[in-house]
Amino acid sequence: MANIAMQRIRREFKEVVRSDEQSIKLELQEDNVLSLTGYITGPEKTPYEGGRFHVQITIPETYPFNPPIVKFTTKLWHPNISSQTGVICLDILKDQWAAAMTLRIVLLSLQALLSAAEPDDPQDAVVANQYKTKHSLFQQTARFWAQTFAGAPGPLNPDFQKKIDKFLEVAPRADRHTAIQQLSNFDWNIDKAIEDVYKSD
């Protein structure tokens, strides 16, 4: 039955290429039809604006009767996306999938998810908690991540940068990604972030 999957992907691929939508893009990975890379741009008026986010799409043999397996490979600060692994919590990629949905719809839905988070159905509890209790800090953090990892424009938050530098001085074995992750997890409280690193060592 992989035949129907391959045929569908070929058609869908053409559909996305032809549709000429600027905000989404689809690429084949090394001529393997069942493994693709998708790109979406961050929606306007969100912390993700101007960023370019990559998703890895794996097509199961039973596609389109089962949903594609999609995860972000660009690091992202969002309640419904794991900040560590990029795993996405989105109903249409699980039980709400329908066989008539296409990769184009999946990409557009991911874009919509960036505009409208569902903090009550979180994938990343830490991010969801920050989203609900310290929303302005959440927005600054999400923006900082989009600028750092997805190439979103604009000057980086100087306060955050200072904290990252300080973190790296105290914990020289950590890299910059770890520093950002740790500080974000602890609402940019540098003492708690460093304490946690040493605790886990």
Partner: protein, 179 residues
């Protein structure tokens, strides 16, 4: 795998919503969405519970789809291991001969008033209905359906049933006279 790239808008209207190819063994849901029967069958098999239309998520089931019979299709149809498409359901047109046509329905009723009416009107009702079937000119749907379900079979069956009723009515009448 045939590459049908430069399709016109016209054929795209008849693409299966699941395989995105021109629908084969087409069925249509009550919500109006078109699928190949093998595609839809597999979708329904994937989700035995909570079956929904793959397009609009309206309720859907094996019994709630209508097969589409185009001209000339479905003869070389390799239905493989899949169960055949569900049958079409034919709704009778509303009868425009109100009284006597309904006669034979009351023949065996309990109510003696209807009984006598039914028997009296029966022959007329029989002729009216058989004339209507044979005339057929105002009823193109009937012809289409026969094409799909085996020609003339339907008509013969109808006639047989009518004759059977006539005989039963006669026997009943005799019995009434004897009693």
């Amino acid at each position: 795998m045939p590459e049908t790239d430069d399709k016109s808008e016209d054929t795209a209207t008849f693409e299966c919503n699941i395989c995105l190819d021109t629908a084969k063994n087409a069925v249509i849901s009550m919500c109006g969405h078109l699928f190949c029967w093998p595609c839809l069958y597999q979708w329904l098999e994937t989700r035995p519970q909570g079956q929904v239309c793959p397009v609009c998520k309206a309720g859907i089931s094996r019994d709630k789809v209508i097969p589409l019979y185009g001209r000339g299709g479905s003869k070389t149809d390799p239905r493989e291991k899949l169960p055949p498409r569900p049958q079409g359901h034919r709704t009778e047109p509303e009868a425009d001969y109100a009284g006597p046509g309904g006669g034979h329905r009351y023949v065996f009723g309990d109510n003696p008033h209807f009984l006598s009416f039914g028997i009296g009107a029966f022959p007329f009702g029989f002729f009216a209905s058989s004339f209507n079937l044979a005339g057929g000119a105002g009823n193109p749907m009937e012809h289409q359906h026969r094409d799909a379900a085996g020609p003339a079979d339907h008509q013969m069956q109808d006639q047989l049933v009518s004759k059977l009723f006539l005989w039963l009515a006669c026997i009943f009448l005799l019995w009434l006279l004897m009693a």
